[in-house]
């Protein structure tokens, strides 16, 4: 089966023209951090909501030497991750891993791995909604002009109104940031936990939105600053005393799940959203659960 697929498809599924075009858009995106670059998004044999934007970037830059990691909601075993991984390996034959440190290319939705990424790694994020200005300007053309002129007054009023209405900057994900002091960028769909990790990072971050046909990037060592107020600063989801029930980590992004006790009841527990990181810690000798 594997054999047949390799003969049926071009390496990385996309034809060479499509890859070249995406790479050109990526170069532009890297040259202007945070700036949305349009690209001719192709139809791929997966549903759009599953992240064709990120997938196309991955397929355009992947090489036979790459070692690939695919995550969904921080989990390598998520349905979406499994499907995307299968599609990419069947059309490229590259090696895969769940270890964030061993991967050269990481395709993800929702999370940046907990372990610090390096300069020789690339992280590709699949983005459902591109423009932070969509909250204040639904017309995409007008929003583009606003970005061009760094016309972000209305977005700041939106932030002000969030504070006034909710008493806090309670925007779960989709947190807006200023990239390199110039472009406003949405951080959808990563949690606030991961937002500070975009700032002055070692790694190249590439963002792709298939439906909205946009690509943007945060190159290494780029300042990424959340929109915030002196008296209402940006905060991550961190809560004092938080702890992973599996590995005991206190400084990770946690998700909660319900554990049934078999007698019709059960309890909510929290554990690391980054499952491979959690497994690694469990396996290592230092951890005493």
């Amino acid at each position: 089966m594997q054999q047949t697929n390799e003969q049926l498809y071009n390496f990385g599924l996309l034809d060479e023209d499509a890859k070249r075009e995406i790479r050109r858009s990526l170069l532009k995106a890297v040259a202007i951090p945070g700036h949305q670059i349009p690209f001719a998004s192709r139809d791929l044999p997966i549903a759009r909501g599953w992240g064709t934007g990120g997938l196309q970037i991955t397929l355009a830059i992947i090489t036979p030497e790459d070692c690939l990691k695919v995550i969904d909601q921080g989990d390598d075993a998520g349905v979406n991750a499994v499907n995307l991984r299968r599609l990419i390996t069947q059309t490229t034959g590259v090696a895969t891993t769940v270890d964030s440190c061993a991967a050269s290319l990481i395709q993800t939705r929702h999370r940046i791995p907990e372990e610090p990424l390096r300069a020789d790694q690339i992280l590709v994020l699949q983005v459902p909604m591109v423009d932070p200005l969509r909250w204040v300007e639904p017309n995409l053309e007008r929003a583009t002009v606003m970005h061009g002129e760094a016309d972000y007054g209305r977005m700041w009023v939106y932030m002000y109104e969030s504070v006034v209405r909710a008493g806090d900057l309670r925007i779960a994900s989709q947190y807006p940031v200023m990239v390199n002091g110039r472009y406003m960028m949405d951080t959808t769909p990563i949690p606030r936990w991961d937002v500070p990790r975009l700032d002055m990072a070692e790694t190249l971050f590439l963002f792709g939105a298939g439906r909205e046909k946009r690509i943007y990037a945060v190159p290494p060592h780029t300042p990424v600053v959340p929109l915030q107020f002196e008296d209402y600063p940006f905060r991550t989801e961190y809560q004092a005393g938080q702890r992973c029930v599996r590995c005991g980590a206190e400084q990770t992004f946690l998700t909660s799940h319900f554990v049934p006790d078999g007698a019709g009841a059960g309890q909510w527990v929290t554990s690391c959203s980054d499952s491979s990181f959690c497994d690694k810690r469990l396996a290592s000798a230092e951890v005493q659960p």
């Binding site: 007054g153 700041w156 009023v157 002000y160 109104e161 504070v163 006034v164 107020f229 002196e230 008296d231």
Partner: protein, 278 residues
């Protein structure tokens, strides 16, 4: 006296223009739209200067080009030709505002200008609270402290005779006269050196109109702020403006001290305006 603004040979037309335009349009022909090519010559060769601290009125019938002129000074409508020279009150070097790029023009507009439109929905975002609307100018000027922003916004609301406790209410719960006050509060937020007022009391009941005009007069008195006041109503202009420009069909037909224009109008069109305002 030092001037703040000098408008030199300013032009704006809507349309491509044709060789016959010049002959077929203007006050003498009684139209600004060329019957040959359909182009509207909304502002033709406007020249005037604005002294620091004065209120200059611009009067003329509907369609004479008043809003077009004001929008160009507001840098929200690009001029086809001409200069808008601005001399900052704090230093002598004049700049031509028409030469600014979009980015600096927006910065200048937020910092130095305030505008109040006839229709509040042109000047306010109806989805934001009243306080958010006033705060926009502060946020654009990089105010980043919600507490201080709200303190300044409340102060502006008091200054414009709005109840500060309604800071978080939505604009659609305010009356027409109150919305004009909100626009004025927003315009004043950045302590601009020039306030642009476009038919701010048209459409209001006479008693409400009188109170808004009183407010503008009081602000002018207190802040000594330079104003460009546009109205089709000479009755409004004479209450506030020391000097007045009369526009017709895209051109300035007369200008001078408002009292003099009222006493002894020169242009037949001005005579008509004065007699109907009396």
């Amino acid at each position: 006296m030092t001037w703040l603004l000098q408008v030199v040979d300013l032009h704006k037309r809507y349309g491509p223009g044709c060789p016959a335009c010049a002959e077929l349009t203007g006050p003498r022909q009684g139209r600004s739209q060329c019957p040959r090519c359909g182009t509207v010559h909304a502002c033709v060769a406007a020249n005037f200067s604005l002294q620091a601290g004065e209120v200059l009125g611009i009067v003329g019938e509907s369609g004479s080009g008043k809003s077009t002129l004001l929008q160009m000074v507001n840098l929200s409508l690009p001029a086809d030709q001409g200069q808008i020279l601005y001399q900052p009150p704090e230093s002598g070097a004049a700049v031509d505002l028409c030469q600014m790029n979009g980015y600096s023009a927006r910065h200048f507009r937020n910092d130095r200008l305030g505008i109040v439109h006839q229709r509040p929905e042109l000047g306010l975002n109806m989805h934001f609270s009243v306080g958010g609307n006033v705060a926009e100018k502060l946020l654009l000027a990089e105010w980043r402290h919600v507490g201080r922003i709200r303190a300044r916004t409340s102060e502006l609301m008091r200054q414009t005779e709005l109840p500060p406790e309604r800071i978080d209410d939505e604009p659609h719960t305010f009356s027409g006269g109150m919305l004009q006050r909100v626009q004025i509060a927003k315009a004043l937020a950045s302590r601009p050196s020039l306030l642009l007022l476009d038919e701010v009391t048209s459409g209001l009941d006479l008693s409400v109109q009188a109170r808004v005009l009183d407010l503008i007069r009081r602000i002018q008195w207190e802040e000594q702020i330079t104003m460009l006041l546009v109205s089709h109503d000479l009755g409004v202009i004479r209450q506030l403006a020391r000097r007045t420009i009369v526009m017709k069909n895209g051109q300035i037909v007369e200008s001078g001290l408002t009292d003099q224009i009222m006493e002894d109008p020169q242009h037949p069109y001005t005579q008509l305006l004065v007699s109907s305002a009396l």
